[in-house]
Amino acid sequence: MEGDLAHIGAGLAAIGSGAAAIGVGNVAGNFLSGALRNPSAAAGQTATLFIGIAFAEALGIFAFLVSLLLMFAV
């Protein structure tokens, strides 16, 4: 196989996407369990849900970016 250490690093950095997936799942799952306990309060909190998901996902996107940089730019 061709490739170098940068490609291995890119693959390792991609693990971060999985971590972000765990984070996003955590946020959404906790929101859902809270929403099922008190459905009347859920509608007002969807904005907070999306903000939380966005923050959790941003870090996954950072990992993805590092991976891309290693693949293409370094």
Binding site: L68, L69, F72, A73
Partner: protein, 181 residues
């Protein structure tokens, strides 16, 4: 800003037309992208703030106004309907009372007429029955006298037929005693 913008396309794209590295990180293209992005944003902002947003806001406000007016009109109509219903109920109650009054009056009138008629009829019946009783008594008296006469005559005739001599006074006495007996 525009110092290094004239570099060749080839420094980010290879001979085959494929990207060298990430196209997102090709700094030669940044001035172009940023310039056109700013133009785009300014155009969208001007269009939105001058034309679109005031118009949509006006449409929404107008619709809100229409809805509020319609609701007010509906309230008004409802109040008027309630008033009309009240008036109708009042008229109905009045009419019912009037009808009851008329019925009571009529009933009283009829009762009075009836009482009169009954009294008159009673008087007439009483007079007629008294007259009839008198007639009956006369007839009875007449009938008794006739029976006496017929009995005397018949007794005289029977006595004569038996060969006796009819003594008028004896016959009368016999019949009278028999009739009383």
């Amino acid at each position: 800003m525009a110092t290094d913008t004239t570099a060749a396309v080839g420094s980010c794209v290879d001979a085959g037309g494929s990207a060298i590295g990430m196209p997102q990180l090709c700094f030669e293209w940044f001035p172009n992208q940023i310039f056109w992005l700013v133009v785009t944003l300014v155009v969208i902002f001007l269009v939105l703030s001058r034309v679109a947003l005031p118009r949509i806001g006006a449409i929404l406000a107008e619709r809100q106004g229409t809805i509020t007016n319609d609701i007010a009109a509906a309230e008004d109509l409802k109040a008027r309907a309630a008033e009309a219903e009240k008036a109708y109920d009042k008229a109905l109650a009045d009419a019912r009372a009037e009808a009851q009054r008329i019925a009571a009056e009529t009933r009283a009138e009829i009762q009075a007429g009836l009482d009169d008629a009954i009294a008159k009829a009673d008087a007439e019946i009483a007079a007629k029955s008294a007259e009839s009783e008198k007639a009956i008594a006369e007839i009875r008296a007449g009938a008794l006298e006739s029976i006496e006469a017929v009995a005397k005559d018949t007794t005289g005739d029977i006595v004569t037929a038996l060969g006796g001599k009819a003594d008028a006074d004896a016959v009368t006495a016999a019949v009278d005693s028999r009739m009383k007996g």
